[in-house]
Amino acid sequence: MELISILLLVFPFLGFLIIGLLQKHMNRNVSGILGSAVICINLVLSAILFWHVSSSNQTVQTQLFDWVKFADISIPFAITVDRLSALMLMIINGVGLLIHIYSIGYMKEDEGVNRFFAYLNLFVFFMLTLVLSSNYLMLFIGWEGVGLCSYLLIGFWYKDHANNDAAKKAFIMNRIGDLGFLLGIFMLYSTFHSLNISEVLAKASVMPSGDMTLFFITLCLFIGATGKSAQIPLFTWLPDAMAGPTPVSALIHAATMVTAGIYLIARSSVLFVLSPVTMNIILVVGAATALIGGLVAIFQNDIKKILAYSTVSQLGFLFMALGLGSFSGAMFHLTTHAFFKALLFLAAGSVIHALSGEQDIRNMGGLRKKIPFTFALFIIGTIAISGIPPFAGFFSKEVILTAAFEHGLGMGIIATVISLMTTIYMFRLLFVVFFKPESKALKANHHVHESPKVMTYPMAVLAILSMIAGFVQLPKLFSETQGFDTFLLPVFAKATGLAAVSEHGLDVQTEWMIFLVPLLVIAALIVVSYKRFVNAKELTEASGFSKVLANKFYFDEIYDFCIVKPLGFISDIFREFVDQTIINGIVNGVGRGTLFVGKRLRRLQTGNVGFYLVIMVFSIIAILFFNIIL
């Protein structure tokens, strides 16, 4: 098992090295196949590990070598596979494999296809490092590594500066979060003198709830999570990140990397449970992000941006779940979300592919007939994400909603509203793209074509997963056994045990309410949006509040005005004024002053020896005189 866990890291890295180094000489088809093969092997390995940990309830520990070790600090490269990591392994490798295969078709025409697969393999390597690490610093390696890959892949088409700007923005915003994470690590180390996750959690679990140190630690970790998982205030990079190729959006910016923040918090669940204030902050931030993401998504016109804001919203929803203490609920939704959001992105990619790069939904419409298979898949994804039974989204959302209602009626309603917004923007997207009469631009476009099988089949697999994944855990109404909860129980047992609130279950009526009311509203919303979006001639220009929404609450503009511009201004001031005028001025001024004084003092050299002698004697007299009186 130890060997397998190491191989998990070795294979994608080898894939990266081989594809990366042989870029120039490699046949463009080979790289895709090689890259996929590597991930396929990885999937098999992960399946073995998954089976191992789920059957034996043991964790696999592997120590590779000491990374940072001297005096009293020792941080090894070490791998821990427990059920949580095993679950993430399955998601990363599973979804990763499908997206790799999809990419073979999607990136076929691109000249940089080899580079693309190299990066993708590197990403998988770092993502696996992240979930497999047994200590926070190694987790941080993966954390930064995926950020790097994200940077490289967003800016994949680097000839256009818009893409590069998006990539840079993503990296820098992530770095802001990373600083928080790093500070969290420092505090962890200062407090517990160890960065080993299990050790830290064990030591922390005896600390009192509400401890200030724990509060700051968790806050810092959460700041790290907001960067990576695109939460307020660091979420604006995610929509921009759609500049990258669509498979990248699907893999990195929907299914895996952005969930790293959730993984981090779930991993450190004990710390968070003991710090109720942070939990509340997470709850509020998550809810706010989910609301804003959802609202903005309704008013976007770029197919990928809609999905991006949907992701932001869903991530916010996940953080809500974490804030509510429903760690396994969050993980459950994370899993299903990975499936259907990846599916949606890939389907969107398929649409874009079919339209040769068109992304504006105003220029789409009526695609239902032209690309029926994609349409079918897209519908499945939409239903799944909207939470309509029996597809996966319904079940996972249900868990979170229940948790929200258990927390309080207000929170429950907010959560419900958030989940309902999903329906609005997703069905708007669906209707505009597939049902609305064809746009003029589209009519002029002649060769709209269905994607090749290498792209559709992976989507089909994801679609199937989106349909059935939910049955892992039926709502409490229908089933006594909570499959998913039980599976993750060993991981979260300590945390749930520490959670002080006694779990008073909801009564049956409420549960039915939670179950049925949203469904009814969803149905109504579908009808309304059908009327609104399919029949409307053109999407009208936004105005008033909706204009604010269409412009994403002007977050970018505010950041630009508050941070970017002043920083540039300060930079110029420093460079032009402080450095050149003041500091260099002082230094050069000293030199110039010396020259000036020298020029004047030169006159003292009269050349008259008698004068020199007089000066000398009287100076000696003066010195001796001062020697006496002092």
């Binding site: 007089v614 009287f618 007299i621 001796l624 006496i628």
Partner: protein, 166 residues
Amino acid sequence: MLSQYLFFFLSFVAIVSALMVLLSKKPIHSVLYLTLTFFTLAGHYILLNAQFLAVVHIIVYAGAIMVLFLFTVMLLNLNIEGEFQKSTIMKFIAAIGGGMIFLVLIGTLKSFDVATVGNPELTQIGLVKNLGKTLYSDYLLPFELSSILFLSAMVGAVMLGKKDKQ
């Protein structure tokens, strides 16, 4: 008491002849008065039990240095009488300067304490034997260096004295 009288006598002669160095018009007279001063100083050395120094002093100063001065004056025919006198204001300044430096020196030196710190066993430190021991043990390196200094001074003097080939 004898030594006291001797001291006063020598000092008196020394100061008078030193003044005469300045006051005489012809350089050659100055040289001769200076030689006289040096002899009185040699007497002082003997008074202070510094016999070796006294001898060296006479050899070096009276014997070598003053002869050099005399040679220069005579060979170059420099014995020109007071053709360049300084202005009275300059002399006035010189007098003030000299007086002030006298006062300041007294002021500086008068408070010196002269407790015996040297080796109390050592008697007659001024003799060649004792001085030689110190010189060749503690001050060997400076001694050797001073010989180099002499050599270079010799070479330098010869170089300077050579007539330019023109």
